[in-house]
Symmetry: C2
Subunit: 428 residues, 2 copies
């Protein structure tokens, strides 16, 4: 049996432990929801205040030059690139994840429009908003969205046929934490003549991603989850250099123009990923995102440039392994089931549990104790889920022990049943 | 001749004078560029710091409920509505102006797709990014973008024929400051069977706008110019209630879903303008925008709810009238020409001057003196322009005097010629 002392010993030996000093975490909170909204970097309040008072307040319009606002999307993009296996100049930070997905899926469909291929394949369990964007683009552009289960991507009956134009997948599933083999799946898609679009919302800052090594085509991701960029921080978008200079950008705004300050009457797209910029970006929000990116890049101190995620991954797997082991040791007999894959190669940086009843109330009871995870409702294929994100930047092994200790108490005292009773019988 | 004392007397009598106390304006700066980026509201640094430290840092994911993040786009939209002649529930603040233009033009073209009408009409002198967005959407959806001069909208040879699907105009021209008669032009467009899309980037917070009274169809606008929302602040979008519940939104993300937290597999658009939301919005940037909106709404104290712009308009016209008069009295013989219409009904809240040579250098010389306006390069139809924005919220009559005094000195001393010489002969 693992003990609290074992966990403390692991923390004492953990070389990444000092990284948590980069964050302000509220007193009494054990935060297992960094997969939904990352915590506040200590540097962010001062940096944001500086942008507000000096760049906006004092600099005013002059800050386009003096504070290099125009370079922000690329400068931050270069930082993201170091976390996702991309090269400088291949990524920009801009707009929201959904808007960026629209851009890249539009571009991929444009490339395939004369191929006779009419299918966009995605997973039934993909993040709903990705499916909404695909649904609307497919209808508009004469494609059909085909939803499948992950198992159907492989083997002799694979859905990856010569009818498939684009394979659009989320690398790490938002609900189960299951991770795809990006390289193998991309190779299979390419062998079938399809292009790949990867959503890295639960990957960037959470697991190593190797976009160029995987030979992926397009990718987008989120700035406010594992990248700690702040609520609604701008997202990012990447495109493989073989498509750069050719892909179509439907949202053809001034910031993506080849000569943005010339105000020419016709649109001439910037070379490369720069054309994925559209309108004026939220400068203050970009400043928050940069502080978040720097917290993750701080792990490069252990592993060199581009090496942050490899260093973080080792700890992430140790944390999730420990959580799984402790739940199995200490919560047996309480009806919990493990949803997230045990196999390291298939696991993101979260662990999800399911239960026939009470998942919502258990999460609420944990939140009342300051242990913040979240709940995702089930559907015809998946039970209700308790979701716990493990961010190696600011979580330690004793934190994992404490989380399980609270879970044990919630289950054994039955306090979640009181929460459930109150919810069901609320006087409204 | 108008004197400095006359200007001081006007300030002393100005009931709106206290409104400037809402802003932090840098020492030594006379800011005539609020049409490009509004100044910093005094309330913004503290409010933004609160959102960062409390809502993000302490509240974390709980702030979706405790800080009502989900309501922000609508809550701010209701504030914008009071400035543009719209009703509560008709406006949301979200994304960038360009992205919002894409949404509304897409929606309008969808409504016209079976009408047989194939033209989108806009002005040759419209803001280039609006034309870029239209260019790309027209190509994609089988329409033709026809660029015209404003005069071609009226009379027996009007371009508004039964071939026109959509008339897309910017209400106040970014370069000349000329304002369209929204009501008359909308009526003419409707009589021809066309829908109207209005860009209010240089109108919202600058001039009274009456969207519902004008019977307009779609409108979008900018948050960081006259609304003082901060660099890259989210933009806004409005749709007439007759289209609400019917219009198509191509960027079909989770925040515009009818039941955004149910994570259903298919997109079901929210009723009304709410469907124009897409992905997660920058919460910190929205907080800055709200501070900016409040500075404009403060003018309601003189005129009641929805009355802010009427109060501000009187002063705005007095400021631009004074600037024109002083330039004519004091800069005669220096080759300046007036570009902005003299007629009040056709003038926005800026005054533009042109000159055969030196416009860029004169603007630079003024900026070196702390008088910040901007320069817009000419083209085949329009000379180079010196652009001066007059924001009645924080500019007074003595400011106008001082601006012209600096302009006189720059012209009379010829210091702009030195700037021009240095620019042309720069050692690079």
């Amino acid at each position: 049996m693992t003990t609290l002392e074992d966990c403390r010993a692991l923390d004492a030996q953990d070389p990444l432990r000092p990284l948590r000093e980069q964050f302000t975490i509220p007193e009494g909170v054990l935060y297992l929801d960094g997969n939904s909204l990352g915590v506040l970097p200590k540097a962010a309040p001062a940096r944001i205040a500086e942008v507000v008072a000096k760049e906006w307040g004092d600099g005013l319009i002059r800050s386009w030059n003096t504070a290099s606002w125009f370079d922000l999307p690329q400068r931050l993009g270069d930082k993201v690139a170091r976390l996702i296996g991309a090269a400088p100049g291949e990524v920009v930070c801009t707009d929201s994840t959904s808007v960026n997905l629209y851009k890249v899926l539009f571009a991929a469909l444009s490339q395939q429009k004369d191929s006779g291929r009419k299918l966009v394949v995605s997973e039934r369990s993909n993040f709903p908003t990705d499916l909404y964007i695909a649904e609307s683009l497919c209808r508009e552009r004469g494609f059909t969205l085909k939803l499948i289960d992950a198992g159907e991507l492989q083997g002799p009956d694979s859905v990856l046929t010569d009818e498939v134009a684009v394979l659009m997948l989320t690398h790490v599933n938002y609900r189960t934490g299951a991770m795809h083999d990006m390289k193998a799946i991309t190779a299979a898609a390419h062998a079938a003549g399809a292009l790949t679009v990867w959503d890295l919302a639960h990957s960037a800052g959470a697991v190593p991603v190797a976009l160029n090594e995987s030979d992926a085509d397009y990718a987008i991701g989120c700035g406010y989850k594992y990248l700690n960029g702040g609520p609604g921080a701008p997202a990012f978008v990447w495109v493989h250099t073989r498509h750069a200079g050719k892909f179509e950008q439907p949202l053809s705004g001034w910031w993506g123009h080849a000569a943005p300050f010339e105000f020419t009457p016709h649109y001439r797209p910037a070379p490369g990923v720069g054309r994925y910029l559209c309108g004026t970006q939220p400068v203050i929000a970009l400043a928050g995102l940069e502080c978040g990116l720097d917290t993750v890049l701080a792990a490069e101190v252990f592993n060199g440039t581009n090496g942050a995620m490899a260093a973080l991954r080792t700890k992430s797997l140790a944390l999730t392994d420990l959580f799984i082991a402790l739940v199995e040791e200490r919560c047996a007999g309480h009806g919990l089931a493990l949803v997230t894959p045990r196999e390291h190669a298939r696991r993101g940086s979260q662990v999800c549990l399911s239960r026939d009843e009470g998942a919502y109330a258990i999460v609420q009871a944990l939140i009342a104790r300051g242990v913040i995870g979240d709940y995702r409702a089930g559907d015809s294929q998946m039970p209700d889920i308790l979701r716990f994100g493990f961010t190696p930047l600011y979580l330690g092994f004793e934190d994992v022990w404490n989380a399980v200790e609270h879970l044990v108490q919630v289950l054994e005292t039955g306090e979640w049943r009181r929460a459930e009773f109150n919810r069901k019988n609320a006087v409204t």
